[in-house]
């Protein structure tokens, strides 16, 4: 009895200790964001004189937002980011799932070759491809500076990983019997795929959508190489305009950073469970 009591007490103490450590770590993790949030409502002079105070000497201000939005062309960049992210994600899902289907269900040489090339290509980092990519698409073809080019490249780069994930899903979760039944009922392969197989892939579609949409939205290097004109900038590129050669206005920078962070954070509040599950599933599968 006393043993049980001490054990229970020890457990409670250890839980309190762990809880305190977690609180401290949590504070350390969100500290940089807190800094941005408390400074975004201050004037430039107040930020410079005391970045740690909760309220500036000149009081609360919303002034940084409209100016920052104007300077980074916020709605334009936001629109570009949204169009590019959504289109690339949808295209990736449609084409990679179809490809995975034909690869899983047929033992043709072309399928095996394509799949092994895709799996092998997943280890190639973007830095190895960026120079020839610019040389080919910029130098030879001259089709940089189009959103469509970036969408095409985003899709091309993410196909391998997505196909790999759909490959696993079709292999384990789609019974061949179902397809055979549809076949007997007179469905063509195309109909079987869209009516039977694709709807069964929903969980994987969600995972791929989350992983790729986050990657596309946050990507900097590829868009910065493809999109050279100001009106095509995505949000990550647009945040750079504040670090020009002229004096940097720290108040505007705070507003711009918050504007860049806010959309994803809001989405995270609502889709938190799916995002955490999707990212874990994606990481564990690859």
């Amino acid at each position: 009895m006393t043993d049980n009591k001490t054990a229970a007490r020890n457990k409670r103490i250890s839980h309190i200790v762990m809880f305190v450590i977690l609180i401290v770590m949590f504070f350390a993790f969100i500290f940089p964001f807190l800094m941005v949030i408390i400074n975004v409502f201050k004037t430039k002079a107040d930020i410079t004189s005391d970045p740690l105070s909760l309220l500036g000497a000149h009081g609360f201000t919303l002034q940084n937002f409209p100016e920052a939005m104007k300077k980074m062309n916020f709605w334009r960049s936001f629109g570009n980011s949204a169009v590019i992210t959504i289109t690339s994600t949808i295209l990736t899902i449609i084409f990679s799932a179809m490809t995975a289907f034909v690869i899983v269900r047929n033992k043709w040489k072309a399928c095996t070759l394509l799949f092994s090339l895709m799996v092998a290509s997943m280890v190639i980092p973007f830095q190895v491809l960026m120079i020839p990519l610019v040389s080919l698409y910029g130098g030879t073809l001259g089709i940089l500076n189009h959103r469509a080019t970036l969408i095409f490249m985003h899709t091309g780069f993410s196909l391998a990983m997505a196909t790999f994930m759909f490959h696993g899903a079709i292999h384990t979760n789609v019974p061949v019997d179902l397809e055979e039944a549809a076949d007997i009922d007179g469905c063509s392969r195309w109909q079987t795929y869209w009516l039977i197989v694709f709807p069964l892939l929903k969980p994987t579609i969600a995972t791929v959508a989350i992983i790729d949409a986050m990657a596309f939205w946050n990507d900097y290097l590829l868009p910065s190489l493809v999109l050279g004109r100001k009106e095509l900038y995505t949000i990550p590129i647009a945040t750079q305009v504040f670090y020009g050669t002229y004096s940097t206005d720290i108040g505007l920078i705070m507003a711009a950073l918050l504007l860049a962070i806010l959309p994803i954070l809001l989405l995270y509040v609502f889709l938190q469970r799916y995002i955490v599950e999707g990212v874990t599933a994606g990481a564990v599968k690859s």
């Binding site: 839980h15 450590i21 977690l22 949590f26 993790f29 969100i30 964001f33 800094m35 941005v36 005391d50 970045p51 740690l52 084409f95 179809m98 490809t99 690869i103 043709w108 072309a110 399928c111 394509l114 090339l117 895709m118 190639i124 980092p125 830095q127 190895v128 491809l129 960026m130 120079i131 020839p132 990519l133 040389s135 080919l136 095409f152 490249m153 091309g156 196909l159 391998a160 196909t163 392969r189 195309w190 795929y193 986050m214 946050n218 900097y220 290097l221 945040t239 720290i250 920078i253 950073l257 860049a260 962070i261 994803i264 954070l265 995270y268 938190q272 995002i275 955490v276 874990t280 564990v284």
Partner: protein, 293 residues
């Protein structure tokens, strides 16, 4: 039906995989092969012709001291970051799987840095290092905090490491959490009944069963650290005096700033090979150590 004819196969393949194959080849395979060719030319980024120069880009790479310095720096940065990321991630994963109140909230919170792109994260931390820490140091009159770490040679590297650990720990934590969950409860109970202390259970039962999580996390952190670019650009931009230029940034500058595309591509290939060798060796060793439950 005529399912064995070549025309049926071609039609099916084209219908389902035609567009993907074209896009994949155009964006990945072709540039990769073309990149190998580029290393034997001296293209300046503008002119139409790409003169063939044999192996001279590779000899230029071997005599490019700045590249080897950047690569060495990247190796040191990666080694420290990879270890710290995984230690912090494992500790966090342990803490959020003990049944403490609000553990799901903590998991979600630690993951937040991964939602945001490296460029934005770098700028956020630049403000923290340059302004917030300095203000804190001055008000508390702590010497080492009152000047910005980003302005000193070793400090800039330290800042990069801090940001990387902060950025990746939450993501790796999720993988370790999945690892902790996959360890069967009855094995833990059996070990406890056999008289294992909590430490023994942890290091002789739980950790060996989580080998695949370790392999995965190490592979992900190694490849990401080796290829670091976004945070490097926005946080330090290679400064002060180019002492925080990582290998990927050096490659970028060679090609797009100094217009030496051939040398840049040769250096990119070497960086890739070093990273691949380290990553694959690690996976190979890890797979050998794996045990089945």
């Amino acid at each position: 039906m005529k399912k064995n004819t070549l025309s049926y196969k071609c039609q099916q393949y084209a219908m389902f995989a035609g567009i993907s194959t074209a896009a994949f080849v155009a964006v990945v395979i072709l540039p990769f092969v073309y990149g190998l060719y580029l290393t034997f030319t001296s293209w300046d980024g503008v002119s139409k012709d790409k003169p063939f120069v044999g192996l001279s880009n590779y000899t230029a790479t071997f005599s490019d001291a700045a590249f080897w310095q950047a690569l060495g720096r990247t190796v040191i940065y990666s080694a420290i970051s990879v270890i710290l990321v995984n230690v912090v991630a494992f500790a966090l994963a342990y803490l959020v799987t003990r049944g403490v109140k609000g553990q799901n909230f903590f998991r979600a919170g630690f993951f937040i840095p991964n939602l945001i792109g490296g460029i934005v994260l770098g700028y956020v931390w630049k403000f923290v290092f340059n302004r917030a820490f300095v203000a804190l140091g001055t008000s508390l009159s702590v010497g080492f905090l009152s000047t910005s770490w980003l302005a000193t040679t070793g400090g800039a590297m330290l800042c990069l490491i801090i940001v990387s650990v902060w950025q990746y720990a939450g993501y790796m934590m999720l993988i370790y959490v999945a690892g902790f969950m996959s360890v069967p409860k009855d094995l833990i109970e059996a070990a406890q009944i056999d008289g294992c202390t909590p430490n023994q259970t942890m290091f002789h039962v739980t950790v060996p069963l989580m080998t695949s999580s370790f392999v995965q996390c190490l592979f992900l952190t190694i490849t990401r650290c080796f290829m670091v670019y976004d945070v490097n650009l926005s946080l330090t931009k290679g400064e002060p005096f180019n002492t925080s230029v990582m290998a990927a940034m050096h490659v970028y500058n060679q090609a797009f700033t100094y217009k030496k595309y051939g040398v840049g591509q040769a250096e990119a290939l070497i960086l890739f090979l070093v990273c691949a060798i380290v990553g694959v060796t690690q996976v190979y060793i890890g797979k050998k150590a794996e045990v089945a439950a």
